[in-house]
Symmetry: C2
Subunit: 355 residues, 2 copies
């Protein structure tokens, strides 16, 4: 018995995702992601928004991040387990789904570990386009884990960055990042302290994985005119910046209701003034307003960015056919006859799909 067409949902596996990325090329997929995310940030008010729904344990968190624009519905499943790397597992893995709001039927299931790395980097670069000082060409990259190369390449592609200065408390991670970026066209400088990494940098990106209130940047390390792209503070009790930096910065966030719980600003009062990034991208409010200003993108990752990324994957899957069809939805000929479908499966020459 073959499942009907309604039963089948296209699935972009990790292997398919990598094929899609190479089909387009890394720089172009980052450009397309920035375009899709900007489009969705411009129509921010049309989205159904909610802070992500987390389930916390001693060792990590599992989160669901849903949103909808009224036509499509998307959600991401994502975990964060800082100790996973000790067991050879990823800190963050993710998958997501896009569905048709008018029927509730899924239209795409996709791996999102790879995709989240890309969309996070694209979001950082999009924010830096509006917030970094003019002509920024040097970035300090503090934390050289799984996200770091994507951050560097997105900043190169979108802002024309020419030099990255790498630091990680684990020198093997730095060596890996430097090796991966050789040949990218970005000059790589391996640094041995955060202080060395920030020398001459107009952009400072922090992306570490410790689940605690860390001081990756202390107050005296951040000078006038810098853009801070803070990625790693993304759950309650996990921050990277000294509060003094926040006090001297103009702070931009994705969704304040979520960022106040999860971001660097969890260290500040609940009404501490922040600017929503979408208002900058839509042209309603200014981004950077003076050369000496310190801008801070307190990024925690928001559901709309995943929605944009899933929209792009849906479009690329349609274009390339790179997917696998899953028999995911029970689809009886008579929709009221689910039981009859089950009974006919017994009497039919029944062979389950290959394992």
């Amino acid at each position: 018995m073959q499942p009907s067409e309604n039963a089948l949902v296209p699935f972009a596996s990790v292997d398919h995702m990598m094929a899609l990325i190479h089909h387009v090329g890394v720089p172009d997929i980052l450009r397309q992601l920035v375009r899709y995310i900007e489009d969705d940030f411009r129509r921010w008010e049309r989205f159904d928004k909610t802070p992500r729904i987390g389930s916390h344990s001693d060792v990590g968190v599992i989160e669901l991040m849903p949103t909808s624009d009224g036509e499509a519905y998307g959600f991401k499943y994502v975990n964060g387990h800082p100790n996973n790397t000790e067991d050879g597992l990823q800190t963050v893995t993710a998958f997501g789904l896009l569905a048709d709001v008018s029927t509730g039927y899924p239209v795409l299931l996709s791996e999102m570990t790879m995709l989240t790395a890309l969309r996070t980097a694209a979001t950082s670069a999009m924010a830096a386009k509006y917030l970094a000082p003019k002509g920024a060409s040097v970035m300090a990259m503090i934390g050289n884990g799984a996200q770091s190369e994507f951050q560097c390449l997105a900043m190169q592609t979108i802002l024309g960055l020419s030099e990255v200065r790498l630091f990680d408390s684990d020198p093997i991670a730095t060596a890996k990042c430097a090796q991966n970026l050789s040949g990218s066209g970005v000059a790589v400088v391996v640094c041995h302290s955060p202080e060395e990494a920030i020398e001459g940098a107009q952009i400072i990106t922090t992306c570490t994985a410790d689940k605690r209130n860390a001081r990756v940047l202390s107050d005296n390390m951040v000078g006038a005119g810098v853009h801070v792209n803070a990625i790693g503070g993304d759950c309650p009790g996990k921050t990277e910046l000294a509060p003094g930096i926040l006090e001297r910065s103009k702070i931009f966030v994705e969704y304040p209701e979520q960022t106040r719980i999860e971001g660097e600003i969890q260290q500040m009062a609940q009404d501490y003034p922040v600017t929503e990034l979408w208002r900058v991208i839509s042209g309603e409010l200014p981004g950077r307003s003076a050369p000496e200003q310190i801008t801070l993108f307190d990024s925690v990752g928001f559901a709309i960015e995943d929605f944009s990324a899933l929209r792009l994957v849906r479009d690329l899957v349609r274009e390339t056919g790179h997917c696998q069809w899953l028999d995911m939805l029970a689809d009886p000929d008579d929709p009221k006859d689910l039981f009859g479908m089950l009974m006919r499966a017994k009497s039919a020459d029944f062979t389950p799909l290959a394992g």
Copy 2:
């Protein structure tokens, strides 16, 4: 390039689910489901609980239902679109996932359209075991859609029901249900009004799909000593019972915080007294306490029931091997080297999995 073992997640497709059900047999899978759900209701307080997260549109709802017992985490995606049947689609489709709390890695992806029908019926029968009058043998089944046969068979299996009296405003649905139940050992009486259906019934199950405040049962239709199993009132603005019935009944619910929003009791005051079913199952509180009492299970479906069902599927998949392995998680040899994995996929003799 072959994905590593960590990358693979077992997927129980619709076809696999039907094979699993027939491997065990419908009555036995209902018995096992009741056992798994009872086990989880008994340890209710250990679960991380939240009302489901819904995204509502004019034509339906898409919901996420997460929960965790601290060791496993589960969630279900489910839609409810009453008009879908007009287009040959299911009103409700669902899939779900079970993950390991200690790593955040998924351990099972499963279709849940078929599974939700089974777990809903098992939950109804479990509740009726504690709430229906002793020796109940006749049930009125009002609403003969996709859920109806499962309800009848679960009540037969768990309570020893001998007669079901079917009514639906759509006589074709009733004929389908009667046909499907022929040979089940339950006597089937086709009725032409709700009043006729409830004649002599000790259990009245309502399971209609209209998304509005309906009056499937009016106050004068429900007499002393009856157990009402109200399934269809399950979202804001969708109820089936006249408020007078609620006032005369002892009301049992799954999770009050959710039922007050979605169940029949949305018609009552926010502090209207209800009894949590888990307290009855754990022996803390009585179920039915007098023969003449009207008991009402105001069932909306709760995440823990799906969690129990996913646990059972995980165990059956392990036992039978009925599943398909999905390359769902990016799993680089060095967990910090996601980018290197992407680059090696390009240089390798790269063939995406078959479409």
